[in-house]
Symmetry: C2
Subunit: 258 residues, 2 copies
């Protein structure tokens, strides 16, 4: 249903409007009408109508009528999702507690297509933190949380994922062979946790566990990540995994009680 | 320009699409086509086209074709704003440090119309934390950050704000008299900080300072908030205000260097 849609059912101006919002970022925090039209592949007239509509609705602003930038109102869209994700709020105090105990960053993520998406994150106040914000997307196969989330899918779904994914060698440690990847997912299923050792970026190690609902369905992944110079593989497993499991048990207990 | 728009320039389906995204929340994490049509005041046919489009674009999902829910992709919209807010990322490590030092929650917010909007927040891991997420909107007049942000506007703009606002008595301490409010803003301007003592909610006290750009324009507010049973007014001023000012100085120094 999501893949095929009748042309008459498709609201193109909605697609274009959402795309306009999405093109703003750190490098492009201010854009002109011409730049918007070019990047979203719109006529100037259409880009103008969309920008004027977003301006009227308060999602963009312009001090001079030339440069447009997003307003905080855009956050209400993401906020609608976050507040609909009821387990997130429930999990957050436990994440804070975990980050304090292990003195490393902890994150909560969910699967969206081929990516994991961060829905909560507690950073420790070190100088060398790993800068990953809410809503950040990372390829599932190269991350500990991604492998935990994929291991919660059916074997058929995981094989579909493996066949559709082009495994990019981010580092020398990245698993790029689909067969090796499938074996790894099997191991994650058996163990109930996943470890990623500098597979996405040199210097970053992490360990993750699934959070499951009453019916045993994986709804999110929780991880602890740290810099490789501070945290060895053995430490992740011997020292941090028990803490991670304790936190998962607390979150699941709170979840089941509702 | 934002207030008046020619009808021919207004893309109504974009407005409706954004409204559909916005109606999902903790109480309504799953909605049927009928519910969406009713809440956004759309015909069933129009609501259906919008939902199908959002489904096709990956912003909503439906397991059974009856109930629709948002997907994490919606976060990318808010994320576009957050990543365009370049001072936020720069400020975050300093916020972490401040929260650790004072062992109370710290937040960063910006003004959007009559509200403040949280763009960063570091919570301490107490049991009794104040639950406020990213993107939360609060009325500016009743909060310390709001008063700091309003004091950065011109006198004319503040008076316009006061005349347009209906001051709601959230608690017995809320300032509800526009004249008293204007005097308070003057005081905040002179002092360079604002204190809110249980004006929005009994039990919550906070103190805030402005963060200014090179030209002296207020771009955000930083606060420390705590439970009234733990933090007295005197403590906020004598103990926390110096720490707050130190952090503001660090953030501004980092900001000016860029």
């Amino acid at each position: 249903m999501a893949d095929s849609i009748k042309k008459s059912d498709f609201v193109q101006s909605l697609e274009k409007g959402l795309k306009v919002i999405s093109i703003f970022n750190a490098q492009n925090d201010e854009l002109t009408l011409t730049e918007v039209a070019k990047q979203v592949e719109l006529t100037r007239a259409n880009a103008r109508r969309i920008l004027l509509t977003l301006l009227h609705l308060g999602y963009v602003t312009s001090a001079d009528g030339k440069y447009f930038r997003l307003t905080p109102k855009v956050l209400t869209l993401g906020y609608a999702y976050l507040s609909s994700l009821s387990f997130r709020e429930l999990a957050e105090p436990f994440l804070n507690e975990l980050a304090k105990t292990v003195n490393e960053s902890c994150s909560l993520s969910v699967l969206d297509g081929h990516d994991i998406v961060y829905v909560a994150r507690v950073q420790t106040s070190r100088i060398m933190t790993i800068s990953l914000g809410l809503g950040t997307r990372l390829p599932a196969y190269a991350t500990s949380m991604g492998r935990v989330l994929l291991s919660g899918l059916s074997q058929e779904e995981v094989e579909k994922y493996a066949s559709e994914t082009s495994f990019e060698p981010f580092t020398n440690y990245t698993i790029t062979d689909p067969q090796a990847f499938l074996e790894r997912i099997n191991l994650v299923r058996q163990r109930g946790w996943a470890l990623a050792d500098q597979e996405l970026e040199i210097g970053v190690r992490s360990i993750a566990c699934p959070i499951k609902d009453k019916n045993g369905k994986t709804i999110a992944a929780l991880n602890i990540s740290g810099h490789a110079s501070r945290v060895s593989r053995d430490e992740l497993i011997e020292k941090y995994l028990p803490e991670l499991r304790k936190t998962v048990a607390q979150i699941e207990a709170a979840l089941y009680k509702r």
